[in-house]
Amino acid sequence: METLRFLLKKLIEDRVALLGALLILLLIFTAIAAPFLATFPEDIAEFHPPNRLIAPDGTYWFGTDRMGSDIYSRILFGARITITIAIIAIGVSVIIGVPIGLVAGYYHTWFSDLLMRTSDIFLAVPQIVLAIAIAQTLGPSIENIILALSATYWPFWTRLVYAETRSIQKETFIEANIALGASPIRVMFMHVLPNISSSIIVRTTIGMGGTILTAATLGFLGLGAPPPSPEWGRMIAESREFLPEAWWYATAPGLAIFLVVMGFNLFGDGLRDILDPRIRRSVRHDE
């Protein structure tokens, strides 16, 4: 409770991080309340060709798309897809990456090397290229996008956890634990993990932004959700044919991606400042 209050206090002091947090809250709220906020919730699967490509006005706040659907409503529902992809992909990456990093960091055997070199192989290929290759091979769908992102993101956590584990291992309290006869599993999960969790949380928050951007890229390339899904990257891809006349068509999903990615990055930076004093931003007015 005390730490939470401390966190909140720090967060409110850090305006930029607060803005990031608000953007994230807005995204989550939008995703949950989409059916109530949307002005034309049926426009996700229903189309009105006579109304196509209408500029933003009082009825269609963000204009309409190539099928005559309300872009504002579609953006709201698109938030659900975005957040689902980001949470599952990042979740899977953390579940795979963290234990591997812990084991590889804790033990000093050939097995650690094997694990780390395997993760290096994944890190060696540019992530987006690898994700495109996987998504293209498996065929376009949201499930495959999640799979492709998880398969390419886990090594980042492995690297991080490995390095943190190695550095914390030399601490007296860990050695004391081992001397007391604690099992390796207990040491790893009860003592090492809680002490490196702040770095993992920071990495995960910033990683969310990157994942959303990569997911949108894959959607833009036609590897994501099939039409007529209101996935943001796909909406931008569809809008290209109608630029620059229908400027609102690309602007709305583009802004949505921009704000969400910015939100996660700002919040992640703020969290890092609060949780990890070692790598605090250099210029701070409150210090």
Binding site: G222, P226, R240, E241, A246
Partner: protein, 532 residues
């Protein structure tokens, strides 16, 4: 002593390297600039093409997206020109057909020359058709059933004789697809019996109005006027043509508006055509074409093998919404698998309308078990996605679940030839390859073509009989009646969802004159074009 020499040699080499490097840079830079400057000095026509030119071999490709090099670098015995398309003598000055309709004798022009200066002779024609039959690619499917390899004879230098297995009413219409290649040159470049495929995929062995100058699969090709072309040249012509690959629609449109491109394909989204029409830099030519848009239905698979299900599909497409609103009335409703404007097209056929009540009626009669169906779409061709989405939305209203699978054209065209992999439905265009009704209903719904050009796995004995009769007959009245009956029957059977027939909207720079449109080739033959 020796060491000293080698050191000084090294030093002098190093000293020599820098100027040599600079010289190399200068040469390569000027080398790069030279063709561009030369091209700008003369009048070069630059065409922005959506599809990449992955080969220069005219006999392995048979599509409209890459037609430009076939028409401009190569000649056929005959050629389709103008709109409505007429078959014109080209390399051949005349031809004779035997009374049994099996022997076609062509007399070649005396003055036709290949780009290397050697004369076009009968042996080159015989070589070219044998090469098509041997490679089994491109247009070969038009000929394999009627011509045996080696059966084409060069009677003398100027007379070539085709001996068909059986009389074929469409043979003459397909002759323009036999692009004549320089057989002596080809044989010189042949390796391990490859019919010089490796060499000619990057080079030119033709006699066409333009001669290949530069080719890069990533960029396109540049060809210069062939001064000795047998048709001669008037006083207005282009010195060179460049067909450049420009995949993004907006780049093509902006390039046209800026004047970087002088022409582009005539099938852009109507919203972009409207935008081009507003500018002063660009003229948009409008022509009635023959290119129908339809959904292939996989008739061989359940539940689409049930006629009531297919009828339910046909009643579930919003034809008016699609044509009037999405395509701004730029196309005409075409209810049968034959363009309205070709002879043989049945007159007064109403076709299906958007009527969900009727769709539900038919759906209730379906005996096959229902399931989620897959509607394909072509990634990058927005119109196919919009059509698929529109159909999906209507189907969900009558309780038919569907999902859309948007894939690239190479992936989709591969699946189209495989009964198991083929989508349940796929929206697609069928262009003109030869101006004969057989090009549409005769290719698309003819039983013997299943798996090659009949991608619907549609088979009806009566339709097959009508088409076989039409191919065998030389009486146009009989043929027209048969194609009309066949296409009406396919429509009644709901063998596909037939949507519209296209108009061609060719955007050209305002200074471009002499564009000659033909539905075969979409005005990409440039020999009459000039700048004013």
């Amino acid at each position: 002593m020796r060491k000293l020499t080698s050191n000084s040699q090294q030093a002098s080499m190093k000293r020599g390297l820098i100027p040599a490097f600079l010289a190399a840079v200068i040469i390569s830079v000027t080398g790069l600039l030279a063709p561009i400057n030369a091209a700008q000095a003369k009048n070069t026509f630059v065409f922005a093409n959506a599809s990449p030119y992955d080969t220069m071999d005219p006999q392995v490709v048979f599509d409209v997206g890459r037609v430009a090099y076939r028409l401009n670098l190569y000649d056929g015995l005959l050629r389709w020109l103008d709109n409505p398309p007429k078959l014109n003598p080209w390399l051949a000055e005349s031809y004779d057909i035997s009374s049994d309709g099996k022997q076609y004798t062509f007399t070649l022009r005396a003055n036709a020359k290949f780009h290397d200066g050697s004369p076009v002779e009968a042996k080159d024609v015989a070589y070219s058709i044998d090469r098509i039959l041997a490679l089994k690619k491109g247009a070969s499917s038009l000929f394999v059933k009627v011509i045996k390899p080696g059966s084409t004879k060069a009677i003398d230098n100027r007379t070539v004789q085709f001996n068909l297995n059986k009389s074929s009413a469409i043979f003459l219409a397909t002759v323009p697809e036999i692009h004549v290649m320089n057989s002596d040159l080809m044989k010189k470049h042949e390796k391990d019996g490859d019919w010089a495929s490796a060499w000619v995929s990057k080079n030119d062995a033709g006699s066409g109005s333009f001669k290949l100058k530069r080719y890069d699969p990533a960029k396109g090709f540049l060809a210069e006027r062939f001064v000795d072309h047998f048709l001669g040249w008037g006083d207005k012509y282009l010195d060179a043509i460049e067909f450049r690959t420009v995949k993004e629609i907006n780049s093509r449109v902006l390039g046209l508006m800026k004047g970087d491109f002088h022409g582009a394909d005539g099938y852009m989204p109507q919203d972009q055509i409207k935008r081009l029409m507003k500018t002063d830099e660009v003229n948009v030519f409008e022509e009635e074409s023959m290119r129908i848009f339809y959904f292939i239905i996989h008739n061989g698979r359940s539940p689409m093998n049930d006629i009531n299900f297919r009828k339910a599909l046909s009643y579930s497409f919003d034809y008016t919404g699609f044509i009037k609103d999405i395509l701004s009335d730029s196309v005409a409703r075409n209810p049968v698998p034959l363009p309205n404007n070709i002879w043989g097209a049945p007159q007064g056929v109403k076709g299906y309308t958007y009527d969900l009540d009727k769709a539900r009626e038919h759906l209730a009669k379906v005996k096959e078990p229902l399931r989620e169906i897959t509607i394909g779409a072509l990634a990058g061709y927005g119109q196919t996605e919009q059509a698929a989405v529109l159909l999906q939305s209507a189907l969900s209203k009558i309780g038919v679940k569907s999902k859309i699978l948007s894939e690239t054209w190479p992936v989709a065209s591969g699946k189209m030839r495989n009964e198991q992999q083929m989508y349940d439905l796929l929206p697609l265009w069928k262009s003109t390859y030869y101006a004969d009704p057989n090009n549409w209903v005769g290719e698309m719904y003819y039983g013997p073509n299943i798996g090659s050009r009949n991608n619907s796995w549609y088979q009806n004995d009566q339709v097959d009989q009508w088409i076989t009769e039409a191919i065998g007959s030389t009486d146009q009245a009989v043929r027209a009646a048969n194609y009309a009956k066949a296409s009406t029957k396919v429509m009644e059977d709901a063998g596909g969802i037939f949507v519209y027939n296209t108009k061609w909207f060719g955007p050209y720079n305002k200074n471009v004159k002499g564009v000659r449109f033909c539905p075969i080739g979409n005005a990409q033959e440039m020999r009459w074009v000039y700048f004013e």
